[in-house]
Symmetry: D2
């Protein structure tokens, strides 16, 4: 099988602020560590590239998008800096079959909100809560090979109500030390594309070094790979008995 082409997109601005926590945890950027985790799990099954907000066209030219099977998306403070043109490009690609994995604060990204059609709002608190990630769909490919629960010793709290459409599949529910719960892993179909949202991953904690988080992301890449890649479906006139011709 031809390797899957995976693109890890990262806002990559937290990591530029010397002396702050994200820069210390992720000196080469979160995208680098996420990419490493995918390679660790999937090796030759994938080719990984990275792209960031400050690259030309955010690193997501039409040719990059056309060549991408699965796109991972991490953004936080600068969602509004992502150009509408690139968002439209990614949107069309998802509808045409590209897989999309939205991470953590990417819940508020333009692309996720556009695909969901809701505010994607949630409750939050950054206070080093312990997060436990429970598996609700034990036979789903994304949940295979990880502990139930996955234990993250310190993480930002994301809590319900999470204003998303009812997921097609609810895979993980998290609890936090403070008692909140969150639908932390969920999937949706959109056109020919598959979307997976996975909430762990705050920039203040070394989440993307966690072997089980890496495993989930690798599972997500395989799960969201295109079954086919096309233009988005478009309305078509059909004469009587067209399917017999």
């Amino acid at each position: 099988m031809k390797p899957l082409s995976v693109t890890v997109w990262n806002e990559n601005r937290h990591e530029q602020r010397t002396g702050e926590t994200p820069a210390r945890i992720y000196p080469l950027g979160m995208h680098k560590v996420i990419a490493d985790g995918l390679i660790e799990n999937l090796g030759d099954l994938i080719n990984v590239r990275t792209a960031t907000l400050d690259d030309s066209e955010h690193g997501l030219s039409q040719s990059v998008i056309d060549a991408t099977d699965v796109l991972l998306w991490w953004g936080h403070e600068f969602h509004s800096d992502v150009s509408d043109e690139v968002v439209e490009r990614v949107f069309q690609a998802v509808l045409g079959g590209m897989g999309l994995i939205v991470l953590h604060s990417g819940h508020y990204s333009k692309i996720f909100r556009r695909l969901m059609g809701t505010t994607c709002s949630l409750r939050w608190r950054n206070n080093a809560d312990r997060e436990l990630i429970w598996t609700i769909a034990p036979t789903h490919p994304i949940a295979l090979g990880v502990s139930d629960p996955i234990v993250i010793s310190e993480q930002e709290m994301y809590g319900e109500f999470f204003d998303i459409p009812t997921p097609d599949e609810l895979i993980f529910i998290s609890s936090f030390s403070g008692g909140e719960v969150f639908r932390s892993g969920a999937t949706w179909s959109r056109g020919l594309g598959k979307v997976f949202y996975f909430s762990p991953g705050d920039q203040e904690y070394p989440i993307y070094y966690h072997p089980e988080i890496r495993k989930v992301l690798a599972n997500g890449v395989i799960w969201s790979k295109p079954s086919r890649r096309d233009k988005p479906i478009d309305a078509t006139f059909k004469d009587t008995d067209w399917f017999l011709k």
Copy 2:
């Protein structure tokens, strides 16, 4: 109970073309006939107003939207003439609890596509197919009191694949003389609002005079009424033990 405030929105341009079929079937506009059907079924339970594309702000000023519990939407050829500002207003209202019923060719309206996050594309043929509307959810409030199937002697064909997100509830499936099938009645939650799509209703046929189609629309109005009306949910910081205070 205070009457529900219902607004029927119609593009109302087909009906202006003297001598063509829609003008003959709906001389006062489809919105008038749809409104009549709601009153026929719901009487004093509702107050109905109508609004059209060519009204100022398309008849959907902020105050009209604020005062609307349930909005019905019929559009076809001039989706792009609907201003983005009004679409945004309706979108925010739905997320804040306003019910929305999207009719027939409204599948391609800006507001429906925005709420769905897909192309909302479908196959079609205008050739007076007989449509049979089968009930798949026999206890759903929207399906109560109508025949199974509802028979429409002549109607435009709308066929699968209909590029929508998996419905929260699939209520009706239609077949057409030509053999095509269509998910003709389906619902989705979006934020605090409820959305119902119902496909019968082409401008070339007197669909909105059909007593059972009117009954479905009336059921839909009651079903989609707000449980509460608010601003769309917005992300909130929450201190530890906030819910105990």
Copy 3:
């Protein structure tokens, strides 16, 4: 409107053991307190009767079942003492439209397992965990009028994986002091009937005196009332064009 006929069924054996906690909390039986809570919320909208395991036919004769719109079910240690004949009777009634609300340890009852088609297994610990019940479906009729979260200071822990079919609607998710999560409020359609499972309610704690738990149960009664009551649907031969005759 004719009052709904509600039957509260209770195993009622814990409460018979003088000197133990359930007898102290519920001296007249849990069914009495559950019934009181429904009356407190719904008043004249309902007529409530109670029935227990040790009544003749468990208090669920065919005539009682025929006259019941919504049945609530609490059982725990003696599921196997419920006769298969009565289970079959309840099963047929649900398929024919009777609402069913299954409470707490009723997850392992014969009737719930039969309707679900799974083990209905879960993790548990009786150690006075605090339970927080979070609303995931803020506009669902069952969730209206209660806090988000509902706080129960002490309760048995029920944790995932809860081996149930994917709910049609997931309304509540609970967390517990120990960090576990649970899909604590969920619904399913079965035939013409509606089923609501709600997990709070261990016999060792005074859960059914909690005003918000009572409110949820009252909401559940209204939600699960029959849209019609019939025999279960049965396969039928249909000649060509039967729907035109």
Copy 4:
């Protein structure tokens, strides 16, 4: 990869009646033709055995079931002749991870009704209707590689309302010459197992020779293979912090 172990179960009594249509179409039994179709598509990826009602223990001894990854089930007139013990064995195996594909009139089998918890009733007419099988989930693995629609020139009509729980995934909807529609391909999770129902396949027509029907069944086998195989999940006491130990 070790080949999947597939067992095709067939009632195999229609085929024994010399001179009748099923005996002419399927002289060696439907199971033989179904098995051939799987081998045609999957070759060395599977090992196929067959089993029939009149075999000892219906050919489904505990050791056969234990060794089966995916079971296909065709039954019709003699559902009641299947022993409850074997049904229980298959039920436990599905909950423990075995895939199950239920075919056509198997909708009324003991095992399917037990897994669904509904009547599984439907409308029907055996009058050589043309069936068109439309794909509603174009990226689902079960729908890959077949025409949209699949055309079956003559087949028994199965029509809605089909009294099943809401499917986890609705893959195919069929229409028939007479105008009826049917959810002809649908999936459900039950415990650790996956269930796929696929309605084409009446004994009076050579459906299981149709290359695209064979392709769907082969896709179904791959889709429903166990992610793991275990005993059904069973309730477990969990001490505080058990997941940290």
